[in-house]
Amino acid sequence: MSAALIQQLVDGLAALMLLTSFALLAQHRMLSVLNWFAAQGVLLAVTAAVVAYGTDNNELYISAVMTFLLKGLLLPWLLWRVIRELHVHREVEPLMNTTLTMLVALGVTLFAFHIIQPIEKISQLMTRDSMAIATACVLLGMLMMITRRKAITQVVGFLAVENSLFFAAIGSTNGMPLVVEIGIAFDVLIAALIFGLFFFQIRDTFDSLEVDAMNAHLIHGDDEE
């Protein structure tokens, strides 16, 4: 395949990445959130593979496989189990109504482009254009964490941010060194496990996964004056 084709491929994937981020924001039902999340994972794996092929950098194949297993299968499955075990209410309860969220998201994306576009010129990589999109995805992930009430959706947001980081890494820098990637993947795994652990505890202690329910226990205001 020609470099040009690869580049177009990566750009296309980047576009899809952005699409999934938006989709995650837009979802109403937990399960579909999970599906989109899984899709994003797979998307990442594909991107890794493509870039690996394009730059015949074998390390990247490994991380492609890792990504597929971890983010495409393992994590979504874990979350899916949590939802089933804990009978999480199937609705995503947003703090901010979806249309407004969407508008903000658009604004954020534009902002990201505005920031990143100028600096992309300095990179001679064929995949440089995707940096702007990666940035946008990071910000969108954060937005998701902010605007969702359920703990579990926050986690998904968090993982989405991780995904977009990973995408930035492979998409626009042809992948970080393997050691680092493994380290990162390892941390993400632990994080996910701890998350799982927490869900059960939170469920036991607060019998709901509503973040606000927990918050009540942390208010240490002083009104004795």
Partner: protein, 670 residues
């Protein structure tokens, strides 16, 4: 012959030893004895060091402590020596006094540790020759005195006082640090020697002056920065309050002179500096005594008088600064001498007053003047010493307070025209304020002595008060004698202080002061002004003796009889004028300043004239505290409350903060 510096260092060493002693000595009375003994020795050494330093010059030394590139510089110059003298002169008697005062005090350890540290801090400040060492000892002084103020921490009021005290002490420390930082930026070194040399721009000089002025002013209790003083002094143990009021405030004065007169020097003075100091001085002097007049807590009253006297000292300094700026070094020196003379005077008589208050507290168990009276019969010795202090602080001849105020008057009076009629008029006006303050002080101490020692006892405790033990008597006797000596023989003492203006202003007063021998104090020339306490005293003694001898017919004795009071057979102690009623005319005259809150309440039977019981309470608030401190405190708490609401939001909000922060940074910096 040991050098002055070594004496000073050994004084510090002894203080340190005293601070460490409690780790070895545990029995309270043993602790008490060691504390008093070591502190007394420290005081003695300090006196010697001061004398030697003034007579034969000091010296300097560098100790390998402190910052790596800044070892600890210590130096004993004329100024420091003088203040060593001041500290020693009070520390010695107070130490002796403590031996009696602290008897029966159960857990003494904190006091036994922090009192010497407090002294060490003050001695160190005087000797330090670089900014870091200075600040080190300064804050040591502040923090240890905080522990002393809260020594009796069971009472809530003491804790409150301690909090205000530590807070303002810290503020003072930071401000002073600021002024040193300015000087450091100008000179590029923390060493005083370098700071003296440094050229500093007028603007930054003024900044440094203001910072130093507010910093040291806070510590010295200059109105309106005095909020801590009337709180802290009453609650501390009396021997501590004697030291705090007697010498800690003086150390603040020392710091001011050190920074403004020495490190920056008269060359940098600007006309408004002196004016500001003068104004602050006059304000403090008058408002201090006005507030003192309205107190009935004895130690609180004395605390307010410290504010007044600090004001008087500042008037002298301010005059000196003005005159120095307009190029009259001789007169500036006179002002400086006046200020320094009042410094040591105030140290002595205020220390004595607090010791007396301590003695009274010790034997009546109360600080409330309304419950005293007639103590002169029960505590004759204390009464005598206290009377001496009252006369001195009221600036009455032949005692020392008068000499220093007289010198201050002379400075103001001899001040020639200083650019502009306004400026020129300010000088005599401040002198008039000084006169007002002096006269009001006299009124106040008539009230104090009259209500506490004279008349009938107003309470059981007062009726059965007992005289204090010999240690305390001795402790009070020494400053009393010194008060008289300094009042009678200023001519012998001023030349001793002369080294200070010599080092700061390069002029000497010694020649003119005792031009007419030890009898006559003539600051400039006899033609200008002269005062001879010895002759005045001698004349009065002769006259008095004569009058007594002549008017005293032999054989007739004095007949004692009951009082006549409008035919009322039995006279009640409550009929006397008490502290509140004594100050009623002034309260009425100065009502706009006092804004007194009167809580009057009376129970009547049948007719409103036949009252069974009348309760009359007047509360005079300190406007400074009411309109400056409390608002600041409220504002702080208010903002804190707003912030607290931010801290009670949910996790989403915090995520949002982070999100917004990053967007903000990107937007601003890219």
């Amino acid at each position: 012959m040991m050098s002055a510096l070594n004496l000073a260092l050994s004084a510090c060493g002894l203080a340190l030893a005293a601070a460490l002693a409690p780790s070895l000595v545990h029995r309270p009375d043993m602790q008490r004895t060691t504390l008093s003994l070591l502190l007394a020795l420290t005081g003695l050494l300090a006196i010697l060091a001061g004398m030697a330093g003034l007579l034969y010059g000091g010296g300097d030394i560098v100790l390998p402590l402190g910052l790596p590139w800044l070892p600890m510089h210590l130096r004993l110059d004329a100024l420091a020596s003088f203040f060593y003298l001041v500290i020693g002169a009070l520390l010695l008697p107070v130490a002796i006094y403590s031996q009696g005062y602290l008897r029966g005090e159960s857990h003494l350890t904190p006091l036994a540790i922090f009192l010497p540290l407090f002294v060490l801090g003050m001695l160190g400040i005087l000797a330090s020759d670089d900014a870091f060492t200075f600040m080190l000892f300064w804050e040591l002084m502040s923090i240890s005195s905080f522990f002393l103020v809260t020594f009796k921490h069971q009472h809530a009021e003491n804790r409150k006082a301690g909090f205000i005290y530590i807070l303002m002490a810290h503020m003072a420390g930071l401000l002073i640090l600021g002024s040193f930082a300015v000087l450091y930026a100008a000179s590029g070194s923390f060493e005083f020697s370098a700071m003296r040399q440094a050229e500093i721009s007028p603007f930054w000089a003024s900044v440094a002056f203001l910072l130093a002025g507010f910093g040291f002013g806070t510590k010295a209790g200059v109105v309106p920065l005095h909020g801590w003083l009337p709180e802290a002094h009453p609650v501390a143990p009396s021997n501590v309050s004697a030291l705090m009021s007697g010498i800690m405030l003086k150390v603040a004065i020392f710091g001011f002179i050190r920074v403004v007169w020495d490190l920056m020097g008269p060359g940098d003075f600007q006309w408004w500096w002196g004016t500001l100091v003068l104004a602050a001085g006059s304000g403090s002097a008058v408002s201090g005594v006005l507030l003192a007049l309205q107190q009935h807590d004895l130690k609180r009253l004395l605390a307010y008088h410290s504010i007044e006297n600090i004001g008087i000292i500042l008037i002298g300094l301010g005059l000196g600064m003005l005159l120095a700026h307009f190029g009259h070094p001789m007169l500036a020196a006179l002002g400086l001498i006046a200020a320094l003379y009042h410094t040591i005077n105030h140290a002595l008589f205020k220390g004595l007053l607090f010791m007396g208050a301590g003695a009274i507290l010790h034997s009546t168990g109360s600080r409330d003047m309304e419950s005293m009276g007639g103590l002169i019969h029960r505590m004759p010795w204390t009464a005598v010493f206290f009377l001496v202090a009252c006369l001195s602080i009221s600036a009455l001849p032949p005692f020392n307070g008068f000499v220093s105020e007289w010198l201050t008057f002379q400075t103001a009076l001899l001040a020639p025209q200083l650019g502009g009629a306004l400026l020129t008029a300010i000088v005599p006006f401040s002198a008039a304020m000084l006169a007002l303050a002096g006269a009001l002080a006299a009124a106040c101490f008539v009230k104090v002595f009259g209500v506490v020692f004279l008349g009938h006892a107003r309470s059981e405790a007062a009726a059965h008060a007992h005289e204090v033990d010999n240690w305390m008597k001795l402790g009070m006797a020494i400053p009393a004698v010194l008060c008289l000596a300094l009042g009678l023989l200023p001519v012998l003492f001023i030349p001793l202080m002369d080294a200070v203006p010599q080092s700061l202003l390069q002029v000497s007063l010694a020649g003119s002061v005792h031009a007419h021998g030890w009898l006559w104090l003539t600051p400039v020339t006899a033609a200008h002004s002269s005062y001879s306490a010895p002759i005045a005293l001698a004349g009065m003694l002769v006259l008095g003796g004569l009058a007594f001898w002549l008017t005293h017919p032999k054989g007739t004795s004095i007949r004692r009889n009951v009082l006549w009071s409008c035919g009322n057979p039995h006279i009640h102690a409550r009929m006397q004028y008490n502290a509140t009623s004594f100050s009623q005319p002034l309260r009425r005259i100065f009502a706009p300043i006092y804004r007194p809150e009167v809580h009057a309440h009376s129970e009547h039977s049948r007719h409103k004239v036949l009252a069974n019981q009348v309760l009359y309470v007047v509360h005079v608030a300190d406007l400074g505290v009411k309109y400056i401190y409390q608002p600041i405190g409220r504002f702080t708490l208010f903002t804190a409350k707003l912030l607290q609401h931010e801290h009670q939001r949910g996790i989403h909000a915090y995520l949002a903060y982070t999100f917004i922060t990053i967007l903000f940074l990107l937007a601003v910096y890219i």
